[in-house]
């Protein structure tokens, strides 16, 4: 049964994904939830919580208010806090019980915006999806609402889809900037580590967008629609970085989008070598390794869109499906938490992923060939 997990943890959920995406942008994120979402987020899904102030709150929803539909308390509490703390925006997130009761978040946002004069929007979440959905929707809202019109400049890009869930060390984020620099590009903004909301608002000045994780795809599409900016999907890894740099230039020149992390890979055939994880990063690592390790199959355990994957890749939701996808593998590249469901004879190359193993990913020693 694909809902049951004997031993594999679950990935970060959509609400945490939204919070992570918006963490550094000066807004106020409010999760309409009784209690657990905020603690889960800041304990297991957020590396910046201890020493960096960000306005992420829960409403502390109680049974009586949920049953009686007392949304006024939410409105009053959000308005009070917003007038006191003066955030740049207010984002509301859903959770299972308000989802069941059909709370109209878009209407609540309109009321809150009118009362505070602060832009308010709903990030479509309900606690039942993974972080790709939550972070993706949050970034898309920023792209839709806050990016100003502007003329693109040559050799300027936005890095899109950057959260600690996929890039959990400052070195990894710096490597993205270094790659852009080496490829001859100026970084207009990084969505959303190290860039402010004002930086993101200038994103129309980029001539191309680099989507480094699936959380950045929706926003890149919004910018494509609004400004015609092409996007290139891939993460700079090893030898694949050169391919990616060339794809950026090609996209800038032609105005066409490109998916090198998917398209430059050779067909993976029998699945004897598999990489499990977020599909942009996994596809990029597979592309980087294919000359030495042969073609690899990407096993995607997340809610990504079908076009993220090649025909030889596999979407596998849940422990049972992933176990089946790995059944014939002799080489598995994955977070160490996958070890118990890898075939006994398979070799595991450790590729830590914060969105799966949380704080324990820092104790995992990454295979040096995967950087």
């Amino acid at each position: 049964m694909n809902r049951s997990y004997r031993i594999l943890p679950t990935y970060t959920g959509d609400v945490s994904g939204a919070c992570s995406a918006l963490f550094e942008l000066g807004g106020m994120v409010v999760i309409h939830d009784p209690s657990g979402c905020n603690s889960t987020y800041n304990t297991h899904d957020e590396t910046r919580w201890y020493d960096r102030d960000s306005l992420v709150f829960i409403t502390g929803l109680v049974e009586r208010d949920a049953i009686l539909g007392n949304d006024q308390k939410l409105v009053d509490d959000v308005v009070d806090a917003a007038l006191e703390l003066k955030p740049r925006f207010i984002a509301l997130c859903n959770s299972p019980i308000p989802f069941i009761s059909g709370t109209d978040f878009r209407a609540l946002c309109k009321i809150i915006e009118r009362k505070t004069g602060i832009p308010a929007f709903y990030v479509s979440t309900n606690g039942m999806h993974d972080y790709v959905i939550g972070a993706g929707n949050a970034f898309a809202q920023i792209a839709q609402r806050f990016v100003a019109d502007g003329a693109p400049r040559a050799r300027a890009l936005n890095i899109m889809g950057v959260t600690p869930l996929d890039f959990c060390t400052s070195g990894e984020v710096q490597a993205l900037h270094d790659f852009a620099y080496d490829a001859g590009y100026k970084v207009v903004s990084c969505w959303a580590i190290g860039s402010s909301l004002d930086d993101l608002a200038l994103s129309a000045q980029a001539s191309v967008n680099l989507v480094v994780s699936s959380t950045g795809l929706l926003a890149a599409r919004v910018l494509r629609e609004r400004f015609g900016t092409p996007y290139v999907v891939g993460t700079p890894v090893g030898t694949f970085s050169q391919v990616l740099g060339a794809a950026l230039k090609e996209a800038e020149l032609t105005g066409s989008c490109a998916w090198p992390c998917r398209d430059v890979r050779e067909p993976a055939g029998d699945g004897s070598a598999c990489i499990v994880g977020e599909p942009v990063a996994a596809g990029s690592v597979a592309a980087a390794l294919q000359r030495d390790a042969g073609p690899m199959r990407v096993v995607c355990p997340l809610e990504c869109e079908p076009e993220m994957l090649s025909n030889c890749d596999v979407r596998a939701y849940g422990e049972e499906a992933i176990e089946e996808a790995l059944a014939g593998a002799s080489l598995v590249v994955a977070d160490k938490f996958y070890e118990p469901i890898c075939p006994p004879a398979a070799r595991l190359r450790v590729w830590p992923h914060f969105a799966l193993s949380g704080r324990q990913c820092f104790a995992q020693e990454r295979d040096p060939r995967l950087s």
Partner: protein
């Protein structure tokens, strides 16, 4: 009318109980040492936990187990949107738990006990969990199914951990009582080896046990033989009452306290009930006074902040320290424990300037977390809010009890004052005192 120093702080002299602050949005400080329901459930030896909930809710509990190094004792069933919209939550719950158990059986064998945690969703949809348990018990007759719950939305009633400290003892069977066996129920922490209760019971020739002493599930069930049951932790009292009533055992509620008179009262009650010789209370008091005087000499007028995470009697702790000449300036708590009404009253009269501060209100997210003087914190939240490296790292009262507990606290205060710790490394760790990968 409540006079506030700020929206999130009130002077003790102006405070009213039990609600100190209005309900508003909440943030969550990064101090996670308090035990959650996963930590508590893991106390039952050989038991396996199965949670049934949505992905985002699952994340916190599944990684709690992982950080305990106990992934092999935790499984889950994920609820999806279509389960709700198509009315399949009950079916998925039953089939999912059954499926997990078949997988466990194939890998390492069935556990003797399974703690099942449905969630708020089950509550709101009126899921017939009685039916689910009937089916599971028919399919797995050798497994004890414990009816736990993770429904934080029900916070106006008993909170989930209070109910867990009841249902985790439901497998204890009715049996003949052993008149020389005393059991401790409802405490997440084992009592310290030198805790007064242990010493008194040993002197009286009693065998004293708690879940912490049980290596196997059968040993755990053997706690049912205790003729006298003790409870020292307020969060465990509901469960201890229910269990002792079901098993028809004597229950003594002897909460951990910082009030000499209250400690004496509890010890007298225990000794009278069990026929144990009374200790020398005067000597005990004198030893505590000496220990606290040593602290006063070293700390002088240094500010002390403490929190309700460190101990369920933070106001009593503050009173004890103030009465011994120490300078308690801040207490972090969001409500007053009803058992501390007298302590609040004392603070109001004798230390009206002590600041009582919320730990969750929104403005605290951006409040300065530095103090201009070297500050001693007792408890992880106080340490974080004060930005101090000098802190006593205890939660939920740890194993402190009685006069020995007060002396232990004094020793920990001196150690903390002399040996700074890295708060960023320590404070965010979950479940202090539990097994941990960190």
């Amino acid at each position: 009318m409540l006079k506030r120093l700020g929206p999130s702080v009130v002077a003790a002299g102006d405070a009213t109980a039990p609600e100190l602050f209005a309900s508003k949005l909440e943030f969550n400080p990064p101090a996670h040492g308090t035990w959650n329901i996963v930590h508590i459930g893991m106390l039952v030896p050989e038991a396996h936990q199965i949670y049934v909930c949505a992905l985002n809710c699952m994340r916190g509990v599944v990684l709690t187990a992982a950080e305990m190094g106990a992934r092999d004792r935790f499984s889950c069933v994920i609820l999806k949107e279509e389960d709700i919209t198509k009315g399949k939550v009950e079916e998925v719950t039953l089939r999912g738990i059954s499926d997990v158990l078949h997988k466990l059986e194939a890998h390492a064998g069935l556990p003797p006990c399974v703690l099942v945690f449905p969630v708020c969703t089950h509550l709101f949809l009126g899921i017939n969990m009685a039916h689910v348990y009937r089916e599971l018990e028919a399919e797995f007759p050798d497994v004890d199914f414990v009816r736990a719950f993770m429904d934080p939305i029900s916070k106006r009633r008993l909170i989930p951990d209070q109910r867990l400290r009841k249902v985790m003892y439901d497998p204890l069977p009715a049996c003949e009582a052993d008149p020389r066996l005393v059991a401790l129920l409802g405490s997440d922490f084992a009592l310290d080896p030198d805790a007064d209760l242990r010493i008194l019971l040993a002197k009286g020739g009693y065998d004293f046990r708690s879940v912490h002493d049980c290596a196997t599930y059968d040993e755990f069930k053997g706690l049912a033989r205790a003729s006298t049951m003790l409870c020292t932790y307020p969060g465990g009292l509901f469960g201890a009452k229910k269990v002792s009533a079901r098993l028809q055992r004597r229950l003594l509620y002897v909460p951990s306290s910082f009030d000499y008179a209250e400690i004496e009262h509890h010890e007298r009650e225990l000794c009278k009930t069990l026929g144990i010789e009374l200790p020398d209370f005067e000597a005990q008091r004198a030893l505590c006074d000496e220990a606290l005087e040593r602290v006063r000499v070293v700390l002088g007028s240094a500010p002390i902040a403490l929190d309700a995470v460190a101990h369920p009697r933070p106001l009593g702790m503050a009173r004890l320290l103030l009465e011994h000449g120490l300078n308690v300036t801040e207490v972090y708590l969001d409500a007053v424990n009803p058992e501390e009404a007298d302590e609040l009253s004392w603070l109001r009269d004798h230390a009206p300037g002590v600041q009582l501060s919320s730990t969750v209100l929104p403005e605290l997210r951006v409040a300065p977390r530095v103090r201009d003087r070297k500050t001693l914190a007792i408890g992880p939240r106080a340490a974080w809010f004060c930005g101090t490296s000098y802190f006593v790292n205890i939660v939920q009262g740890a194993g402190l009890w009685g006069f020995a507990g007060i002396r232990t606290l004094a020793r920990l205060m001196l150690e903390a004052w002399e040996s700074p710790k890295d708060p960023q490394d320590i404070i965010p760790r979950k479940g202090f005192g539990c097994p941990s990968c960190f």
